[in-house]
Structure formats: C-alpha cells, structure tokens
C-alpha cells in the first residue's frame, strides 16, 4: 500500500461530477478508536445510540481490515487473523457497497481513519477523502487550541466540510 507521498499540501478539490446531496454521514476516528468527528446529513434510520453506532463502525472497519489482510490473494506471507497491524501494513480496503449505501474508507499513516457513507451509486471517493483529510490537517491539526485525541468542535471546519460534501457527485 502506498501512502500519498506525491500529493501536494493543498490540492485543489477533485472535480465534482454532478451536484447533489448524496452523502449520508461521515466519521473520523483516531488510532485509539476515539470518534473525533461524527456528522450526518441525511440519515433516516437510527438503530443504535450514537456511541454504540460509532463503536460498531470502528469494530467493523477493524475486522474488515484483518479480513482483507488475511484474504489478500497476491501475497504469500501473511500474519494470522486478528493480529494487530500498523497502518499501511497488510492489504487494506478502500470501499464497500451494499444495496442502500456505499462506505469509503481511508487510513492515514498516523492511524486516523476517515469514513464517508454515501449513496451506493457514487463513484470512487478516494481523492475526496484525501481532500477531506487535508481540510482536517488545515483546520484542526494546525489549530493551536486543539488537543489531539479530543472530539473536533470547530465551526469553520464543520461548515467547510458540509459545503464540500454537499457538492460530491
């Protein structure tokens, strides 16, 4: 797996194919599983409490990552199922699709996990997630008042994110 060494610090936002309100929700987790950010735009179904929902999401991603690392048909040396791996080690995944939604996933070298849940017909969102990660770096990490590992509560970050996500095709 290759981390985005070639990406410049401030890439221009990827071109939007068709404007529309396609995003359902967004999660950002740090490497300890703390949910730094949860935003939802149109979510009609809430089966669990917010905290349980976030825990379940983190658990799903963690287990899916061990599944893909073990299942990887192209490599011969693999660790046992369930052995924790560092970000970037082993075969990861970038999205999955069900009949009602598509989940796009990105993990940064520092273990930050970005999850965007959208309409099942949306295309590849890897570039969009990189852009959102850049928003996070610019608006949150570079904020001197921010303590790493705490939930993000910045108006400017939220509005910029909302605006960007609303334009996703």
């Amino acid at each position: 797996m290759q981390f985005f060494g070639t990406t410049e610090i401030n890439p221009s936002p990827p071109a939007v194919t068709a404007a529309g309100n396609n995003a359902h929700m967004m999660y950002i987790f740090n490497r300890n599983g703390v949910c730094l950010l949860y935003r939802e735009w149109n979510r009609s179904l809430h089966t669990l409490s917010a905290q349980q929902d976030q825990k379940l999401m983190f658990g799903l991603l963690f287990s899916l990552k061990s599944l893909t690392a073990k299942m990887d048909p192209t490599s011969a040396d693999k660790v046992n199922l369930g052995v924790p791996q560092l970000p970037g080690q082993g075969c990861s995944f970038h999205s999955f699709r069900t009949n009602t939604y598509k989940l796009s996933f990105m993990e940064t070298p520092s273990g930050i996990k970005l999850i965007l849940v959208t309409h099942p017909r949306t295309g590849d969102l890897r570039e969009s997630l990189k852009y959102i990660y850049n928003l996070y770096v610019e608006y949150v990490v570079k904020n001197p008042l921010y303590t790493p590992g705490t939930p993000i509560k910045y108006e400017l970050f939220n509005t910029t994110l909302d605006q960007y996500v609303r334009g996703l095709g």
């Binding site: 009609s44 599944l67 299942m71 048909p73 011969a76 075969c91 999955f96 699709r97 069900t98 939604y101």
Partner: protein, 141 residues
C-alpha cells in the same frame, strides 16, 4: 494470472460449506478459511445494522487494495462470495450461476444433508468449468 482467486459458500449460520481455490499466491489452510468465512458472515450482518436508510441486505462488493470481493446472499441466507482481481466484471452473473448449480447439483441430491459441507463431484466439476475465464464472459446473458 487468474481473474478469479477463490470461491466460498457459507450456510445461514456462517459455517463454510464449500471453498475452492483457483490460484491464490498462498493456499490457506482449512482453519483459516473457516475463520474468514465466519468473520465475513458477521461483517455482513453488521453492515446491515449501520445502514443510514432501511432495507439494507448487506455488503455486495468489497473493494480491497489487491482484490474485489463480490457477495450474493440467497433468500434462504446462504451466502456465495467470490474473490477476484480488482475490476473484474460479470461477477454477479457468475454468483447467480453458481447458485443455480448449487440448487441443481447439491440441493436436489438426496444424499446431501442441509447446511453440511458440500461433497458433490458434479457440482465441483461444473463450478470449476463455470469459473473458467471464457465462461464468465459468456455468462452475460
């Protein structure tokens, strides 16, 4: 290089009842395939819980860095999933075809016990044929 790496069939309680390897870099042992199958069963169930809208039937396609996983769940809860090269087309067709073979050669076999591992020569043979690359292309009916 194979377009299709492996095929799994799991019963409604998550037990692996059929596994066929079509050329992965490292053959997994039986225990690992059983673990992967039941792990997939749970991931499939959790993905339904996390849906933002109602009416979710679980993961259909998982795109990993080095492979794609296509999953088809029959009405009775049996799951068929295939691990293939990224971007392989017509996999839904192949899975439905395997389902057809399963109903014909496995379920209609009077010696087959429900939910138990599949040991039917004819099914094996037909699946292997169906998985051949050229067949996959022909299945676009």
């Amino acid at each position: 290089m194979a377009a299709i790496y492996s095929l799994y069939i799991i019963n409604k309680s998550g037990g692996l009842i059929y596994y066929k390897d079509h050329g992965t870099a490292s053959r997994m042992d039986t225990n690992d395939t059983l673990r992967l199958a039941s792990l997939w069963h749970s991931m499939h169930a959790i993905s339904q819980q996390l849906s933002p809208v109602s009416g979710c039937f679980g993961v259909e396609l998982l795109e990993a860095d080095t492979f794609d996983l296509h999953c088809f769940q029959s009405l009775t809860g049996t799951k068929f999933f295939v691990v293939c090269e990224p971007g392989t087309q017509n996999m839904e067709m192949l899975l439905k075809y395997v389902y057809e073979l399963y109903t014909d050669y496995v379920l209609k076999n009077p010696f087959y016990e429900m939910e138990m591992p599949i040991r039917c020569e004819l099914f094996d043979l037909n699946v292997t044929q169906g998985v051949q690359k050229d067949r996959v292309a022909l299945l676009g009916r």
